[in-house]
C-alpha cells in the first residue's frame, strides 16, 4: 500500500501556463512555480485546485483553441 502523509502541510503552486499543482510547504518552489496563496493539508489544497483550476489545458493552448 502507498504510504503518504496526509497531514503534511502543502501549498498550491502554479506555473506560467497556469498549470496547478501542490508542493510541500516547507520546500522552496521549483523554478518557474509560484504560490497562489493557498496552504493546508493535502486534501484541502486539492479541493482548492478543483475549484480554481477549472480548465486544465495550458494557458497557451486554451488561448489558441478558444480564439
Amino acid at each position: 500500500m502507498e504510504q503518504r502523509d496526509d497531514e503534511a502541510i502543502h501549498k498550491v503552486v502554479m506555473n506560467d501556463e497556469e498549470q496547478h499543482s501542490i508542493w510541500p510547504a516547507e520546500h522552496q518552489n521549483p523554478l518557474g512555480w509560484h504560490d497562489v496563496g493557498m496552504q493546508g493539508r493535502r486534501e484541502e489544497c486539492l479541493s482548492y485546485v478543483n475549484q480554481h483550476w477549472t480548465d486544465i489545458r495550458p494557458r497557451g493552448l486554451r488561448r489558441g483553441v478558444d480564439r
Binding site: 502507498e2 508542493w23 521549483p30 523554478l31 512555480w33 486544465i56 489545458r57 493552448l61 489558441g64
Partner: protein
C-alpha cells in the same frame, strides 16, 4: 532542491543518465504521416487478409475526406471525437481523419459493457462518434442518454441512409411457428421459454394482457378499427377483437394464423388475419385504422432502421387523431434482452420533436410491483398520429461513408498545433471512475522519432496490429509505423483470439514487427514448438511492454525467430506509451526481472523518497517521469492532475512538471532502472492496468454486499483477480456477483475467483487479513 543524503557523485551520475535531450520535429502526428505518404505514396499502408487495402496515398486521401466531413459537421480543433470500432481498416482512416480535422480521438472498446461506453461518452461530453458498422446498435442504445452526442458517422456504410437491418424470414417464421404451436398457452404466448429465470404464472400473463388491452380500450373508447402487428398466439387479439368494429392482424407465423382463425370461428368473432412480416404491413393491409398495436413485438425486430420503416407504414395506415400503441418496450438501461431491439423513452421523445406525422407521445411506465419478472421493467408508449407537415430537425444526425465520399480529397487546412491534444485514453481510476489521459501531438512526435530512428523503421516494415485501440501501444502501432512509410497488418477482432492464426501470419506474411504486452505473445509462442518453422526470418523486432516479462521469454522468442531483436519497454499512459527501454540480449540467470532500462530521448526518470528527495543509486523509491513525454493531465479532473503531476525541481526549463507513476524502482549501478512493482493498488493483469479499488467500488454497489476486498492471487497460470465479499444474504451467489460486475466492468476486471463469506479474517492490526483471505479454501461451486 535538496538531494537529501544522496552522494553528490550519485546525483551527478543520475543526471548524466538523464541527459537525454535531443532535438526532434515538434509537429502533429498526422503531419508525420502525411510526409511519409508524400515520399512513399504507392507503398502499402493498410494490409488485411485480402491484401493491400490502402496505399499511403489512398489512406491520405480517404482520411482527408473524413476530416472535411468532420469539419462540415462542426468538428474541429479542441473537440473530442469518440471512436467505437473493432479492428477494421476504416478505424485507422477514422483516427487519422479525426486528427486532421484538428480534434482528438477517444477510443472506446466495443467489448466494454454498454454502461461503461455510455458513461465515458457522457463524462467527456462527446458530440460526435465515429462508429464501426457492428457498433451502430450499441450507439443507437446509448445516444439517447447522451444529450451532447449529436452526430454519428459510420464509414463502413456506403449508402446515404443507414441500411434497413435484414431479417431472416425463414428462421423467424419457423421460430414463431414453434412458439405459437406450443400446447401450453403461456409458452404459445412466448413466456417461459428460457430454461432459467422467473416462471410466469397464468395470472402474471393475464396482468400483462389486461394492461395492453386496457391501454388500447382507453384510447379507442367504444368500437374503433384496430390493426395488430405480430399477434402471435392471440393473447391481445382474443381479448380485444370482440369489442371493436374492425380487427386486422398480421403475423408471419402460419401456426399462429390458424390458431386464431380457429378461435374466431369458434367464437364467431370477425377478424381479418394476414400472413406477413411487419415491414410488409402497408403492402398487405388496407386502412384506415384508429389504432395500431405492437405488443411485445418490437424487441424481435432486427434493428432500429427496420423499426423506423415499420413505424412509417403504421403511421400511414392510421387516421389523423389515431394512435400507435407500442406495448412492452424494453429500455436498454434495464439490462434485459441483450441482442434484442431495446428502445429508450428518449428515442420516442426525439421522434415527436423530429417531424413527420407523429404529433405527440404518452410514455406509460409500469409499477414494478404490479407486474411479474421482467415485465415490471418494461414500458408502454402511445404515439399520437397527426396530420403531418411539420419539418423540424431531429436532434441526432447519422452520417455514412456516402457523405464522406462526396468530400474533397485535398488536405484540409491545418488547424491543430503540436501542443494540441491528439487523443484521450482511459485508465482505470481509484474512485471507480476511469480517468481520461490527454496526450499532446508533440509528445507522440517525440516517441515516434525515437522509435523510428533507433530501430530504423522504414517502408519495408510491417507491424501486426494485435492491441486494442484503447491501449496506448496502439498509438505507436498505427501512427509510428505509418510515419515511417511502413504498413499495418490488420486482423479482425475474432481472429485476434486465435494464436495459431497469428503465428500463420508471422510465418507466411511479411510481418517484421511485433508489439504487445508479454501475455499476448505468450499465447502465440507455444504454437511455435508444435510445427516445423518456416518463414520465421522476417520478424526482426519484438517490443514487449505493459507487464512483467517472463525471464525465459526473450530466449524462447529468439529460438523461434532468430532475427528478432527484443526490446523491453516501460512507461505510463501519462508519459505517452513508452519512456524507458532495455534491449534484451542474453538474460542473466541472476536477474530477478528484466531490467526496466533507461529513459528514451527527452525523457527523464527520478527515484524519489517520500519527501521528494533523490534516492541514492541502489535504493528503492517512488518512480517519477519528466520531460517532453508528459501528458497534459486528466480530463475534467484538476485535483488528480495536480496530485499526479507535481513540479519538477530538476527541470532545466521553467515551470516543468513530472509524473508520479505509482511504481517503485531503483537505479542499478550500470545506469539501468529496476522495476519493483506497483506502489498502490493499481495492478497489471494480462497487460491490463486495473485499480483493485474500482472493482471493490462496483461490488459494494450490489445491494446484498456488505463489504468487499479484491486481491491479486498468484496461481500456477499467473496472477489473477480474487474477490471476497461479505453479505447478510445467505442466498447471494458468486454467479450473481459475477453477472453484476460483468454488466458494469470490462471482462478483464471481473475477478476469476469470487467468494462470498460471512466475515473477513482480521489480522493483529485490526485490518482485514488479506493473506488469510487468499488461504481460504474455495468451495467447488456456489458459495
Amino acid at each position: 532542491m535538496s538531494n537529501g543524503s544522496t552522494p553528490a557523485a550519485d546525483v551527478e551520475r543520475i543526471a548524466r543518465w538523464n541527459s537525454t535531450t535531443r532535438p526532434f520535429r515538434r509537429t502533429t502526428i498526422h503531419e508525420l504521416v502525411t510526409e511519409a505518404a508524400a515520399s512513399v505514396p504507392d507503398r502499402p499502408a493498410l494490409v488485411s487478409g485480402s491484401g493491400v487495402v490502402a496505399t499511403h496515398a489512398e489512406l491520405e486521401r480517404a482520411s482527408n475526406q473524413v476530416a472535411h466531413q468532420l469539419r462540415a459537421m462542426g468538428v474541429g480543433r479542441g473537440a473530442l471525437v469518440g471512436l467505437l470500432s473493432e479492428h477494421v481498416p476504416q478505424a485507422v482512416v477514422a483516427m487519422l481523419g479525426i486528427l486532421k480535422s484538428g480534434a482528438a480521438y477517444v477510443p472506446l472498446d466495443p467489448a466494454w459493457p454498454i454502461a461503461r461506453v455510455q458513461s465515458l461518452l457522457g463524462q467527456l461530453e462527446v458530440a460526435c462518434v465515429l462508429a464501426g458498422r457492428a457498433q451502430l446498435r450499441m450507439l443507437f442504445e446509448v445516444q439517447w442518454a447522451l444529450p451532447r452526442l449529436r452526430d454519428v458517422l459510420c464509414l463502413e456504410v456506403e449508402t446515404a441512409e443507414l441500411p434497413v437491418e435484414p431479417i431472416d424470414r425463414g428462421a423467424v417464421r419457423e421460430l414463431w411457428d414453434l412458439i405459437t404451436g406450443a400446447d401450453d398457452p403461456l409458452k404459445a404466448a412466448g413466456f417461459n421459454f428460457r430454461a432459467s429465470g422467473y416462471r410466469y404464472t397464468p395470472s402474471d400473463v393475464a396482468a400483462y394482457r389486461d394492461r395492453v388491452v386496457g391501454l388500447a380500450r382507453w384510447w379507442l373508447g367504444s368500437g374503433g378499427r384496430v390493426l395488430e402487428v405480430g399477434f402471435g398466439s392471440g393473447l391481445v387479439l382474443q381479448a380485444l377483437a370482440p369489442s371493436v368494429d374492425r380487427y386486422v392482424g398480421i403475423d408471419p407465423s402460419v401456426g399462429g394464423l390458424e390458431r386464431n382463425r380457429a378461435w374466431a370461428a369458434d367464437e364467431a368473432v370477425e377478424v381479418e388475419l394476414v400472413e406477413g412480416f411487419a415491414d410488409e404491413v402497408a403492402a398487405k393491409v388496407t386502412g384506415p385504422f384508429d389504432l395500431a398495436v405492437l405488443a411485445s413485438t418490437l424487441q424481435f425486430f432486427p434493428g432500429p432502421r427496420y423499426f423506423e420503416v415499420v413505424l412509417e407504414q403504421l403511421v400511414s395506415l392510421v387516421v389523423p387523431g389515431g394512435a400507435v400503441l407500442l406495448a412492452d418496450v424494453i429500455d436498454p438501461s434495464s439490462g434485459q434482452a441483450q441482442g434484442g431491439l431495446r428502445v429508450p423513452p428518449a428515442y420516442f421523445k426525439d421522434l415527436v420533436a423530429g417531424a413527420g406525422k407523429v404529433a405527440g407521445l404518452e410514455v406509460h411506465q409500469r409499477d414494478p410491483g404490479a407486474f411479474a419478472g421482467e415485465l415490471g421493467a418494461r414500458y408502454d408508449v402511445v404515439l399520437l398520429v397527426g396530420a403531418g407537415g411539420r419539418q423540424e430537425e431531429r436532434s441526432r444526425r447519422w452520417w455514412t461513408g456516402w457523405h464522406v465520399a462526396r468530400q474533397p480529397h485535398d488536405p484540409p487546412k491545418p488547424d491543430a498545433t503540436p501542443e494540441d491534444v491528439s487523443y484521450v485514453i482511459f485508465t482505470s481510476g481509484s474512485t471507480g471512475i476511469p480517468k481520461g489521459v490527454m496526450v499532446r501531438h508533440e509528445a507522440v512526435a517525440n516517441l515516434i522519432d525515437w522509435v523510428n530512428r533507433t530501430y530504423e523503421i522504414g517502408p519495408a516494415d510491417q507491424l501486426l496490429l494485435v492491441t486494442s485501440f484503447c491501449f496506448d501501444l496502439s498509438v505507436y502501432d498505427i501512427f509510428g509505423i505509418l510515419a515511417a512509410g511502413g504498413s499495418i497488418r490488420m486482423v479482425g477482432d475474432d481472429q485476434l483470439q486465435e494464436p495459431d492464426l497469428l503465428l500463420n501470419l508471422l510465418e507466411r506474411e511479411e510481418i517484421t514487427f511485433w508489439d504487445s504486452a508479454p501475455a499476448a505473445l505468450a499465447v502465440v509462442l507455444p504454437f511455435t514448438t508444435l510445427r516445423a518453422p518456416r518463414g520465421r526470418n522476417t520478424l526482426r523486432l519484438v517490443f514487449l511492454s505493459g507487464d512483467w516479462i517472463p525471464l525465459g521469454m526473450p530466449e524462447e522468442v529468439r529460438n523461434q525467430f532468430p532475427r528478432a531483436r527484443i526490446v523491453a519497454l516501460g512507461g505510463a499512459t501519462e508519459a505517452t506509451v513508452w519512456s524507458n527501454f532495455f534491449e534484451v540480449h542474453a538474460v542473466d540467470p541472476a536477474w530477478p526481472s528484466i531490467p526496466y532500462g533507461r529513459p528514451i530521448q527527452n525523457a527523464r526518470y527520478y527515484v524519489l523518497d517520500d519527501a521528494l528527495r533523490m534516492c541514492p543509486i541502489g535504493v528503492a523509491g517512488d518512480l517519477y517521469i519528466a520531460g517532453a513525454c508528459l501528458a497534459l493531465g486528466y480530463v475534467g479532473d484538476p485535483a488528480t492532475t495536480a496530485e499526479r503531476f507535481p513540479p519538477d525541481p530538476w527541470s532545466a526549463t521553467s515551470g516543468g512538471r513530472m509524473y508520479r507513476t505509482g511504481d517503485r524502482a531503483r537505479w542499478l549501478p550500470d545506469g539501468n532502472l529496476q522495476f519493483l512493482g506497483r506502489l498502490d493498488r493499481q495492478v497489471k493483469i494480462r497487460g491490463y492496468r486495473i485499480e483493485l479499488d474500482e472493482i471493490e467500488v462496483h461490488l459494494n454497489q450490489q445491494p446484498a454486499v456488505r463489504a468487499s476486498v479484491v486481491l491479486v492471487e498468484p496461481t500456477r497460470h499467473g496472477p489473477r483477480l480474487a474477490a471476497f465479499v461479505t453479505s447478510h444474504d445467505r442466498e447471494l451467489t458468486s454467479g450473481e456477483l459475477r453477472r453484476f460486475l460483468a454488466r458494469r466492468l470490462p471482462e478483464y476486471m471481473v475477478p476469476n475467483r469470487i467468494q462470498v463469506l460471512e466475515q473477513f479474517p482480521v489480522g493483529p492490526t485490526g485490518k482485514i487479513d488479506r493473506r488469510a483471505l487468499l488461504a481460504i479454501e474455495q468451495p467447488p461451486r456456489g458459495r
